[in-house]
Each structure stands twice: as structure tokens, then as C-alpha cells.
């Protein structure tokens, strides 16, 4: 009897400790999406943006899509003096946190860009989140000379 009650109490505690993350919804908002204008022959672009999660629940960016090309999550990282770029399987966006996709770090890589990206234009991008579903945004194309230069 005593054991049973203890087990029940422990189970309740365990449930309670897990519960907030499951019950609290994430509140994801995307801002400041931009990409560089492509140069002749360049069919690859990187998209940078900020994901703010103002909710208590965690979320995960699973992938992205755009009619402009094939979008994949990517990250650049220094390995000694060498810059290596690799696909990312997913990107966690914890509750009450902000994740920045910026030059020299995590970005959304768009390959197979057929039409040149011209400064001043925009193109649509959809972000697919595990819990928040799809978010559609516009990406602003900036000239390489005005785009953010620091890493």
C-alpha cells in the first residue's frame, strides 16, 4: 500500500516536471529575412533571419522550402583555419529564446537557384516547424556590398 502510494506520488512528480514543456505552446515569429544578390554563374544563396520564440514551449525548425530552389538547413563553422559548411538535420528553438541565422554561422542554403537574385527583389520562403507548423515569409535580396559584413 505504502509502496503503491509512493510510486503514484513519484509518477505524478515526474509528469509534473515534464508537463510545462508539453502544455506550453511555442510562439514563434520570424523577422529580418535577407539574402545576398547572386553574381553571374552563382546558383547558391544563403538566407539569414531571426527566429524568436516568445512562448514557454520548445520548438524545432525541421526544414524550409522555396520556389526559388532547394532549401536546406546549413551551418558554417571554423575547423582550425578552415571554414567547413555542413547540412544541419534540425534546429532547436527553445522556449523564451531567440536564434539568429547569420553570416558565418547557421543559415538556410538555397541551391539550384535558376533566376538571378536581384538586389531590391523579394522571394517567398516557408519554414516548417515541428510544433508551430508552416510559417511563410518574404526574403529581401540585398546587394553583396550592403549586406551585413561581420560574422
Amino acid at each position: 500500500m505504502f509502496l503503491g502510494r509512493t510510486a503514484a506520488a513519484l509518477a505524478a512528480l515526474l509528469l509534473l516536471s515534464c508537463a510545462p514543456k508539453k502544455i506550453d505552446p511555442p510562439q514563434v515569429s520570424i523577422s529580418g529575412a535577407w539574402s545576398r544578390a547572386t553574381v553571374a554563374g552563382q546558383s547558391t544563396a544563403a538566407v539569414y533571419l531571426t527566429i524568436a520564440n516568445n512562448g514557454g514551449g520548445d520548438d524545432t525548425l525541421l526544414n524550409a522550402s522555396t520556389p526559388t530552389g532547394q532549401a536546406t538547413l546549413h551551418s558554417s563553422a571554423m575547423d582550425g583555419a578552415v571554414m567547413r559548411m555542413r547540412p544541419l538535420e534540425r534546429l532547436d528553438v527553445h522556449g523564451h529564446s531567440t536564434v539568429q541565422l547569420k553570416p558565418g554561422g547557421t543559415h538556410i542554403m538555397v541551391t539550384g537557384v535558376k533566376q538571378p537574385l536581384i538586389a531590391g527583389s523579394r522571394f517567398p520562403l516557408a519554414l516548417h516547424f515541428d510544433r508551430s507548423g508552416d510559417r511563410r515569409i518574404d526574403v529581401e535580396v540585398r546587394s553583396a556590398s550592403t549586406a551585413g559584413e561581420s560574422m
Binding site: A40, T72, M83, S143
Partner: protein
């Protein structure tokens, strides 16, 4: 007295172990991609590549002005445009005009970057930069001389990206190696180095 001698011998033994540890450890810090030759005596040297006009470009054309060398590829979506744009902005901050030092970009992807591609890259940053290509053998040679590592990485859809050394190399007006800027180095430190090499 005997005890003191033991203590001294233990000290000597510990020092020997420490020295052995240091000498064994040092080479392993220069893994692949580390700029081993940067500190070496055979670093750099003259080169002949191909300019955006399709004509040979000799390093002697760089004499008389300081310059920075950066290796990359024009299809690079992230690091290369970020670095070149950063250099253009830093040169403005040095405040001595666009000809105070030259920004030289050398492709590590000659298969895709011909004179036409490096030519349009030259025009993309709103300020004068020199973009060079060459035959695969010429590029291999200059990479070797300047301690640059690069490696193709297959991407989805049959495309490829290139991992490469992203260090910026600095040279004074006599073409003498004057240091490096790491891509993740703070702008203030980078600016100090560029001011030094420009003033030298």
C-alpha cells in the same frame, strides 16, 4: 642531504616528462588545414594566375601597394562574400581610400570559376577588388605556396561546396608577408592590423 638529493632528482624527472609531453603535443596541434607554412620560411612567393580579362596576372603587378589575399570560390554562399564585404568595409574604415591596399581574391574552384565568373565577382562588392583564377595546376601551386587547404564536398543535387582555409593573408608594399586575420577575429583587431600594414 640525501633527502634533498632525492627531491632534486624527482624534480629533474618531472621536468623531463613535461618536456617530452610538450614536444609530442606541439605537432598534433597543426592538423590538416592549419596554416603550417605561415610561420615557415618558404611561405608565399611570386605567382602567375589569370585575371578577369583572361590575361595572365603576375604578382609583380601587386608591387608598390600593400595587399590582402583571400582564397575562396564565387559560388560560396556564406563565408566568401561575407569576408570580401568585410574587407571592403574595413578598408573604408582605414580611411585612406580604395587604393590604400588591394583586396585580392583567388579562387580555389577553377573548374567553375573562369575569367567571366571572377569578373562578375569583381563588380559585386561596390569597390575595387582583384579576382583571379587560373589553370588547376596554377591554382594548386599557389595554394601550396600559401598554405591553403581546400576540399570539395558533395551537396544534394549533384552540386558541391568547397571547404577551404578562410584566413586573410596580409602583405606589405614590398610583397613581404605581414600577418593574418582570422575570419572570426574582432573588427577592431583586424582594423589595427590593416592600419599597420597600410602605414608600413
Amino acid at each position: 642531504m640525501k633527502q634533498l638529493r632525492y627531491v632534486l632528482w624527482i624534480g629533474v624527472a618531472l621536468a623531463a616528462i613535461l618536456l617530452a609531453y610538450i614536444s609530442l603535443r606541439t605537432p598534433s596541434q597543426n592538423g590538416p588545414g592549419a596554416n603550417k607554412s605561415v610561420a615557415g620560411s618558404h611561405f608565399g612567393g611570386p605567382f602567375t594566375l589569370v585575371g578577369a580579362d583572361g590575361q595572365p596576372f603576375s604578382s609583380t603587378q601587386l608591387a608598390g601597394k600593400p595587399y590582402v589575399l583571400y582564397f575562396g570560390y564565387t559560388r560560396c554562399p556564406d563565408t566568401c562574400p561575407t569576408t570580401l564585404n568585410r574587407l571592403v568595409h574595413l578598408r573604408r574604415e582605414v580611411g585612406l581610400g580604395d587604393d590604400s591596399f588591394r583586396i585580392v581574391f583567388i579562387t580555389v574552384d577553377p573548374a567553375r570559376d573562369g575569367p567571366e565568373e571572377v569578373g562578375s565577382y569583381e563588380k559585386a562588392f561596390g569597390a575595387p577588388i582583384i579576382c583571379l583564377t587560373g589553370s588547376p595546376a596554377q591554382i594548386d601551386q599557389v595554394k601550396k605556396e600559401y598554405g591553403i587547404f581546400s576540399q570539395k564536398v558533395p551537396e544534394a543535387g549533384g552540386d558541391y561546396s568547397v571547404d577551404h582555409t578562410a584566413t586573410i593573408l596580409l602583405f606589405d608594399r614590398n610583397g613581404k608577408f605581414a600577418g593574418t586575420i582570422a575570419p572570426d577575429e574582432a573588427d577592431s583587431a583586424a582594423l589595427g592590423k590593416l592600419k599597420n600594414v597600410t602605414a608600413a
